[in-house]
Amino acid sequence: MTTTKRVTPPLAMALGNLLLIMNLTAPAQVTQKPRYTMHATVTHQSHTAVVVATDPRPLMQATEAVAGEYGILIDYEDPPYQSSYDRVDNTDPTWRTAHPGAPGVTRIAGAQFTCAFPEIVDPMNSAQREDALTTILSEYSSSGNPGRFKLATTGTNRLAFIGVGVRDDGGQMMTSAPILDTPVTLVGNEHDLWSALSAVMNQVTQESGSKVVPGDVPVGFLATTSSQLSASGQPARAVILQILNASRRKLIYGLLYDPDVKTYFLNIIPASRIVTGLDGERRYYPLD
């Protein structure tokens, strides 16, 4: 039998004491930034699947993973986060030092979200899809993560998580009207899809008072595709879906809110089946 005696050198002891002192004198309220992941994961068990998301917007990340795993259309809309209960400071310390008087920046206060949901054996089966997504929504609502959402069937084989609640300055949940409920009108019949989408964003901005701008949008593709479109006082969401359907491609949207600039960003990307290869690379296979 061999025994070893570990001798602590004086310098290490001194450093250890110094670190201990530094630790004791650190501010009590340190916001630990979660270790976010670039993407959520979905793993499969016998009759259930488990999604694990770690993101400032964990429901959005989980939605992306589930939609990509099963090849289904799920759109996503943020509620208008505002209070310190739904946001945390994210300011780079170096930048803060260089800009001591600036207000800094925040991020949405989400962290990890793990949910086991009934396996979707047949992605074309609407009951299976809704069963899974209803479970995810229910689990999310009790997870302590920011925002309250509802699940809506917005079209054939199409669903959406729509933000309907945020916490107020006292930490209490309050309802918020989804901004894409705003009624909009498209004048005329023939539209290129980009002009139509721009008109929707402009009208929502004017009617609601909240700014809506394009984020990641395939502008060139939409601007070179025209279709018969009409809307008279319909919810902006329905008109956006009319535009996406008119593209004859399978596109999904995500409406993300940044409380620092009080602006909604409308993002549109091709709906894809996402497969992670053995090399760890994610490969995208558009659904159409």
């Binding site: 959005m60 780079d92 980009w194 002009s195 721009s198 394009p214 502008v219 601007a223 909604y264 690379e281």
Partner: protein
């Protein structure tokens, strides 16, 4: 002299028939679906038709090969290539759904056809060209990254990198082989935006754009 059995005769005859039938078919298949050896990019106008499109660059696209094949009438289509990257993105940023997959839209173009923008014909019936591929992010996104990025741990310049695979339809419409693997980059500087379309030739355009 060697005598072949009737079975051997049958096998030999079968081999000859297979050789006769397959050789011309292969040659025919190659003849009917010549593909481009790559693409040519020429800097076009930026997307000024769009209110916030000054930082989106149009590249006028052409296809060719060294046989001088006439590609007019055939469809080109883009699809996603390898996993992209986006160093302009931070956790919580609102202007991108999937930072590793800055999306190609999956657009299609007909080679040599009318090129229509917003209902207006901007180019028509040009030999072996298929119109504009727009590369870039809108001024809205540029402003957002410049204003909020540095506080969110993003150092300028930062770059979106998108991988694009180009496909072209065969005349018999039975196949759509790929013919080009392109890389697009959009780099946001403090006062400029540089958009590149890297195909057979590397073409970049710098736009001076200052956030108001």
């Amino acid at each position: 002299m060697t005598h072949l059995s009737s079975r051997a005769h049958y096998v030999l005859l079968l081999c000859v028939m297979v050789a006769v039938l397959t050789a011309p078919t292969k040659a025919k298949a190659q003849d009917c679906c010549y593909i481009p050896q790559g693409e040519t990019d020429h800097v076009g106008p930026s997307l000024v038709q769009l209110a916030n499109g000054a930082t989106v660059q149009g590249f006028f696209m052409g296809v060719n090969n060294n046989l001088g094949t006439y590609f007019n009438g055939r469809l080109t289509e883009e699809g996603p290539g390898n996993q992209g990257s986006n160093t302009c993105w931070w956790n919580g940023a609102a202007n991108n759904l999937d930072p590793q997959h800055p999306a190609v839209s999956g657009g299609t173009w007909t080679v040599g056809s009318l090129i229509v923008w917003g209902g207006t014909v901007v180019q028509s019936n040009v030999y072996n060209t298929y119109g504009y591929d727009y590369v870039g992010v809108t001024t809205t996104a540029v402003d957002y990254v410049r204003t909020n990025g540095p506080g969110n741990h993003i150092a300028l310049p930062c770059t979106y990198t998108i991988y694009q695979i180009m496909y072209i339809s065969c005349p018999d419409e039975q196949d759509t082989p790929d013919y080009a693997y392109n890389t697009h980059t959009d780099t946001i500087y403090a006062k400029q935006v540089v958009n590149c379309r890297i195909s057979n030739d590397d073409v970049c355009e710098t736009t001076n754009y200052v956030t108001p």
